[in-house]
């Protein structure tokens, strides 16, 4: 099935290439020329080699010179395979990988190795390290994005690290409990894979955080046509990243993002995990969020107007922002009994895409906003003092969050 698809696909593509304009062909030619030059410059750099261990050669002719890249058996196999393949055919694998990643991102899905094998690589699965590395290079260079592998259910989970860090500082019993949970939580296949990652990837931006922040600032742009009666003005939120519109899938509404951050914050300051019963109770009592609460859904691009809180939680689990982990009933847990107990933790996407530091910044921003209104009546000296106090308070809060989390806060998962 997959193979026949690949064949029809390839033939369709070649038809397409023939019909493309001369201008487009020139562009492709110019681009490949330029890339050849780029790679000649780039392959000399040791840093690049270190960064991409399995980094393949850019041009097939250079395969032999890439001693560093061929260190692991895997990447050598990939390089050999690549050398044996036409460069156009190889390019296609890279661009299909990038396309798959871009497509999945629109739906907040991860790309999975199984799918890549089936839909792109076919029988050439050994070439993957080379394809991945080339896709990474191109994503970073062209899009300012990169693929980041999600940790598997157990691997790199901050709740696991914490069991080592905090056994001394936390209540003993609790630390022990978590160690057990982690073992149980990582279900059998995940445990085996723990060392090798989840084999699924998401896209994230590689642009500097300040730039991303600037790209999110809305300021409406109204473009008026000449004939406003028949053709109404076009309104755009004006933020470079069109978050109020571009994310048309469920969960895309910007208000829901705020709820997600709040949930992540609540889990973070509860030792990075919270039992289901306690979580639900707190959400209900403190935030008035019941499973039946209807959340507003503001994304204009989505046909969904509202979503129930329980559905939203399920969606966040599906999207890997949160994970709901099965644990054994433990003495002292609220409502412990013989029934199966669940615990909420951050999902792998939250670690890869958001990071604990950003969530703590979110908490600090919210805590700080309260005095913003009084600021205007202060003179310069007072303002300076206020600023210092705020910085101190921020620092204090930050360490409070850290100790509530149980250990130093993590930034996003490195690639």
């Amino acid at each position: 099935m997959a193979r026949s698809n690949a064949i029809t696909y390839a033939s369709r593509r070649s038809n397409h290439a023939e019909s493309s304009t001369a201008g487009a062909r020139r562009a492709v030619q110019a681009e490949s020329d330029r890339d050849r030059t780029d790679s000649e410059g780039g392959s000399a750099s040791e840093d690049d080699q270190a960064e991409f261990q399995s980094r393949p050669t850019q041009g097939t002719a250079q395969t032999g010179t890439q001693a560093g890249a061929a260190e692991s058996h895997q990447s050598r196999a990939a390089a050999n395979m690549k050398a044996g393949m036409g460069s156009t055919a190889y390019e296609r694998l890279v661009s299909e990988t990038i396309n798959m990643a871009l497509y999945a991102t629109q739906r907040r899905q991860a790309i999975k190795k199984d799918d890549i094998n089936k839909k792109i690589l076919s029988k050439k699965t050994a070439i993957w390290p080379a394809v991945l590395a080339d896709a990474q290079l191109r994503l970073r260079e062209v899009f300012g994005m990169e693929l980041v592998e999600l940790r598997s259910a157990g691997q790199g989970d901050p709740t696991l690290r914490e069991t080592v860090d905090t056994n001394e500082t936390q209540v003993q019993g609790k630390g022990k409990k978590r160690a057990n949970d982690a073992d149980d939580a990582a279900e059998a296949p995940a445990k085996k894979k723990a060392a090798s990652g989840s084999k699924s990837w998401i896209l994230r931006s590689t642009l500097p955080p300040e730039l991303i922040a600037a790209m999110n600032m809305p300021n409406e742009i109204v473009s008026r046509g000449e004939d406003e009666e028949n053709h109404p003005a076009i309104r755009d939120c004006g933020a470079l990243l069109h978050w109020d519109k571009g994310d048309g899938i469920a969960g895309g509404g910007v208000a829901l993002k705020g709820i997600l951050f709040t949930l992540l914050a609540l889990i973070l300051v509860r030792d990075r995990s919270i039992s289901d019963s306690r979580f639900m109770k707190e959400l209900e009592e403190k935030l008035n969020l019941h499973s039946e609460t209807i959340l507003p859904f503001a994304a204009k691009d989505s046909p969904i107007r509202s979503i129930k809180f329980s559905e939203f939680l399920a969606l966040l689990v599906r999207q890997n922002y949160l994970q709901k982990v099965k644990i054994q009933g433990v003495v002292g847990d609220v409502g412990a009994g013989h029934e199966t107990q669940y615990e909420w933790r951050w999902g792998s996407r939250a670690d890869a895409e958001i990071g604990e530091k950003a969530v703590s910044e979110f908490m600090l921003d919210i805590a700080e906003d309260d005095d913003a209104a009084t600021n205007e009546q202060l003179d310069a000296a007072q303002r300076k003092k206020e600023k210092q106090e705020k910085a101190l308070e921020r620092k204090r809060l930050k360490s409070a969050i850290e100790s509530a989390a149980g250990s130093a806060l993590q930034d996003v998962t490195p690639t």
């Binding site: 369709r12 201008g23 497509y103 600037a214 028949n230 571009g246």
Partner: protein
């Protein structure tokens, strides 16, 4: 040329989060991107020129990734241009529509596909009334309730897959034109049938400069044996270039001139507003094409007997069409001066050609 850098990447991400963006809006977004990346205001006055250069740089980078950037005018005579990031990867068949309209559920895609089909069949109106759009939702194998269908239509319009006119009619949106033209031609195109939504524009300024895009809104030459279609926009271009003749038969546009042609409107102007609330294709089901969609658009076809509700209205149809013709000519006359005034859009290249 500025080296490829963060400004390019920011603009590419900006385009990716919108997919289609109107030119004036894009200019302002470019200014903001410039400020965000460089830390200073964009100084030069020619923002469209700078943006165009940047888009060409982007295009050179992404074209081999099966992505492309296209810029084209709105088919209505709004003089607005859109910049679209499109997938170049062709869609094999109707089932692959989900690859383009990627964020819809299968049920929602089946609804969209049905609407597209009806729009195709509604030629020469190339649009359907909102009542018909909603009725289509309840006629699906798995019917979509009316309120959900309304929300879905709104979302499809917001995303540019459909366009909703001030008359409330739905037609193909800017992204559908940008991304689905080839798919439409392959899926619904039937060379044996002259009259369909799938007519390419006859605009031709020289051997290399021509417009082959679908004419969803525009004019049709009524010269016998011609029937060529042309966009409002492209017709204005012809007139501006002092070539006020049909690109196909060579007869002058001006009906008063010797051999001057009558032109009939294509798009929602081809049907009267009274039709906006009429449901014309309720019996279609999953039948791919029906000659009788929206009556005898051409005037020469015989109405299909199978669409009963059309038959009784034939008399009205003919009368109405006469009226439409008249209206078309009036429009034509009044449009000429407007298009001659137009002068700022010197380069209207349909696609960024890399030089």
């Amino acid at each position: 040329m500025a080296p490829y850098g963060d400004l390019h990447r920011v603009m590419l991400q900006t385009l990716m989060s919108r997919r289609a963006v109107e030119q004036e809006t894009a200019n302002e977004l470019y200014r903001r991107a410039y400020l965000a990346v460089k830390g200073r205001e964009f100084g030069s006055a020619s923002v469209s020129k700078e943006l165009q250069q940047l888009l060409q740089d982007l295009q050179n980078k992404i074209i081999r990734l099966d992505l492309d950037i296209r810029r084209f005018p709105e088919q209505n005579d709004t003089k607005r241009h859109w910049i679209c990031l499109v997938n170049k990867r062709p869609l094999a068949d109707a089932n692959e529509l989900s690859k383009a309209v990627s964020d819809l559920s299968p049920l929602e895609i089946s609804y969209y596909r049905e609407i597209v089909l009806q729009v195709v069949d509604s030629y020469p109106a190339n649009s359907i009334g909102s009542k018909q759009a909603l009725q289509t939702a309840s006629g699906l194998d798995t019917p979509i309730p009316k309120t959900n269908a309304e929300a879905l239509l709104r979302a499809l319009v917001s995303r540019g897959w459909l366009a909703k006119s001030s008359r409330g009619r739905y037609s193909l949106g800017i992204r559908a034109i940008a991304e689905l033209s080839d798919w439409l031609r392959e899926t619904y195109g039937d060379p044996a049938e002259g009259d369909s939504i799938l007519n390419s524009c006859s605009f031709k300024a020289s051997k290399s400069i021509e417009c082959k895009d679908l004419v969803l809104t525009g004019w049709k030459c009524e010269q016998p044996d011609c029937g060529a279609h042309i966009h409002h926009f492209c017709k204005s271009r012809m007139i501006k270039a002092k070539k006020s003749t049909c690109g196909a038969c060579g007869q002058p546009f001006d009906p008063q001139a010797e051999g001057g042609i009558e032109m009939s409107p294509i798009g929602e102007d081809a049907v009267s507003e009274a039709d906006d609330n009429r449901v014309v294709a309720s019996k279609r089901g999953k039948k791919r094409r029906s000659e009788a969609a929206n009556g005898n658009g051409h005037g020469s076809e015989e109405p299909e007997a199978s669409v009963g509700e059309e038959d009784s209205e034939d008399g009205d149809e003919v009368a109405r069409q006469g009226e439409e013709r008249g209206r078309a000519s009036r429009r034509l006359a009044s449009q000429v001066p407007v298009s001659q005034v137009e002068g700022s859009e010197a380069d209207d290249s349909q696609e960024y050609e890399s030089e």
